[in-house]
């Protein structure tokens, strides 16, 4: 619905999904440390000196996503929230002096979508959503670290908030046969730019393109896809930074295993579909540098959802 609003138009029947989903993202060290703390039944204080030392020497990346909605062949409505925080202490920052790199954002809102199929081969869709955004991007220097009041002020002044209405559109061309399907899709996100007010930069209009194929029987399938975001490079990012590809094999509509490349980094995951529930787990690596391959942050994710 939010990635490509034309997709729900394809398929049989009216109903597509009713869903409630929550997903947690943790970097490797945080996940291990949290698990260790949870398993340490004897510890009264889970924040041990070891944990503090790890936080000073290892970046911390946490995230949480929630989505709730209903989608059918013609219409969808959903609410969502996404929160991410990445904090890294650098011994040698931009100028060689210690620095704390803070990158955090939260986005939440709700939206509606409409989709329509023109025959079996072509579908169009559009989404409109209201978004509230909070964002903090700051490199905090050593002088601020040593002064708690200045540090607090820096963090607070780095936090920017805004809201706006965002519109997206999508179109998909589909070719189907008994055992093989192929799709080519194009999307436009943040049509006309999404203005957020205050000091936040707008979300610029971007065009995305993707291609995918599925080899399938009645219950098993192999789906592979690749997409390139911001085809027109409005954000000035190299294509390696904007490219994603992968394959997912589904067995008896119950278990799915997937692997792929996200910004050039390997990713992998699995999905378990049990009646009215869906479990997901996996790992991906997210680029936190300015170019693909500079600094990858490996993140584990776990998702639990109800879907029918």
């Amino acid at each position: 619905m939010f990635v490509n609003p034309s997709l729900p138009a394809f398929g049989y029947g009216l109903h597509r999904w009713a869903f409630l989903r929550t997903q947690l993202h943790l970097d490797t060290v945080t996940a291990e440390t949290a698990a260790k703390s949870l398993l340490d039944q004897n510890s009264e204080n889970p924040v041990t000196p070891e944990i503090v030392q790890k936080a000073l020497t290892n970046p911390v990346h946490v995230g949480h996503d929630t989505a709730l909605g209903y989608v059918n062949r013609y219409f969808g409505i959903a609410g969502f929230s996404n929160v991410r925080a990445d904090v890294a202490v650098r011994q040698f920052g931009d100028s060689g002096a210690p620095q704390v790199r803070l990158r955090a954002y939260g986005i939440g809102g709700g939206g509606v979508s409409a989709s329509y199929a023109l025959g079996q081969f072509f579908a169009l869709g559009a989404t409109s959503k209201y978004v509230e955004v909070a964002q903090a991007t700051e490199n905090i220097s050593v002088g601020d670290i040593q002064n708690p009041d200045a540090l607090s002020q820096r963090v607070q002044s780095a936090l920017k908030r805004g809201n706006g209405v965002s519109s997206d559109a999508g179109a998909t061309l589909q070719l189907r046969s008994r055992f093989f399907d192929m799709r080519i899709a194009g999307t436009v996100h943040d049509i006309g730019d999404t203005q957020l007010g205050n000091d936040l930069d707008p979300f610029l209009q971007t065009v995305g393109a993707g291609v995918g194929f599925t080899v399938h029987g009645r219950e098993n399938s192999l789906h592979c896809a690749a997409d390139l975001r911001d085809v027109l490079e409005v954000y000035g990012e190299h294509w390696t930074f904007r490219s994603y590809a992968g394959c997912k094999a589904t067995y008896h509509k119950v278990v799915s295993l997937g692997a792929g490349l996200s910004q050039g980094y390997p990713t992998a995951g699995m999905v378990l579909n049990i009646p009215f529930s869906r479990l997901e787990a996996g790992m991906y690596t997210r680029e936190v540098g300015s170019q693909a391959g500079i600094e990858g942050r490996t993140v584990y994710f776990f998702a639990l959802g109800t879907e029918f």
Partner: protein
């Protein structure tokens, strides 16, 4: 079709089994296609303590971008780090508390004042000095203050432990370092108590010229402290 989908599942399982371990290793298969970002690369090399490789990358970058102040400051940090000076240690000591003054803090992070370490810190100081004032930020100012103060204290210790009359060049360099350290300390609101004390003791020492006064001062220090300045790490390696 059953064979096709079984094969597809097997292929994906094998791929997942081979990819999962790689997913946590930071391997990027498009890295060679992506534009390079030398300064970022150098920063990450410094985090991994690969100071020499970081220096090589920055040297190449600065040869075509000599006015990049941040890169120049990071380049200076490679020399200081190789000598054993890391400003993060200052931050940790500040948070731990207990230091009586900012100068005490700087003394607490000094490495051994061997000739090689001294040459590295001298180079760090000189590289920072190449950055014009209008291009400096607070971090660069802090680095300049720390490297200059560290060089001064290590230089004094090195001279004191040599048991030789300092040369005219060394005397001139020492006095210039005193001036630089005092100026930077004042600019950064650090009371230069130790520096003023050293200057006063040198000026008050016997000698017809600066070179002789410095030597008299060093002899006094040697006599009082067994050959070294107080609070600077000693070489405890057995002969």
């Amino acid at each position: 079709m059953r064979f096709l989908t079984r094969s597809a599942l097997a292929l994906t399982l094998m791929t997942s089994a081979s990819v999962l371990p790689l997913a946590g290793c930071g391997v990027n298969y498009l890295e060679d296609q992506a534009p390079q970002s030398p300064v970022e690369e150098a920063q990450l090399l410094m985090e991994k303590e690969e100071h020499l490789e970081a220096r090589r990358v920055l040297e190449e970058w600065l040869s075509s971008n000599p006015d990049d102040a941040k890169a120049r400051a990071l380049f200076a940090a490679t020399f200081a780090a190789e000598a054993g000076i890391a400003i993060i240690d200052l931050t940790k000591k500040t948070l731990e508390g207990g230091a009586q003054s900012d100068e005490d803090l700087i003394k607490s992070i000094l490495p051994q004042s061997t000739d090689s370490n001294l040459a590295l810190v001298r180079r760090a100081k000189n590289e920072i000095e190449l950055i014009p004032g209008e291009l400096r930020n607070a971090d660069i100012d802090l680095e300049a203050t720390v490297y200059t103060a560290a060089f001064l204290l290590m230089f004094l210790d090195n001279l004191a432990s040599s048991n030789e009359l300092p040369s005219l060049e060394e005397a001139v360099e020492l006095l210039e370092s005193l001036d630089e350290a005092e100026t930077l300390a004042r600019e950064n609101n650090i009371p230069p108590q130790e520096i003023e004390k050293i200057r006063a003791e040198i000026n008050g020492s016997d000698g017809a010229n600066d070179q002789e006064k410095i030597n008299s001062y060093l002899e006094k220090v040697r006599a009082e402290n067994g050959g070294t300045l107080p609070d600077v790490p000693q070489d405890t390696t057995p002969p």
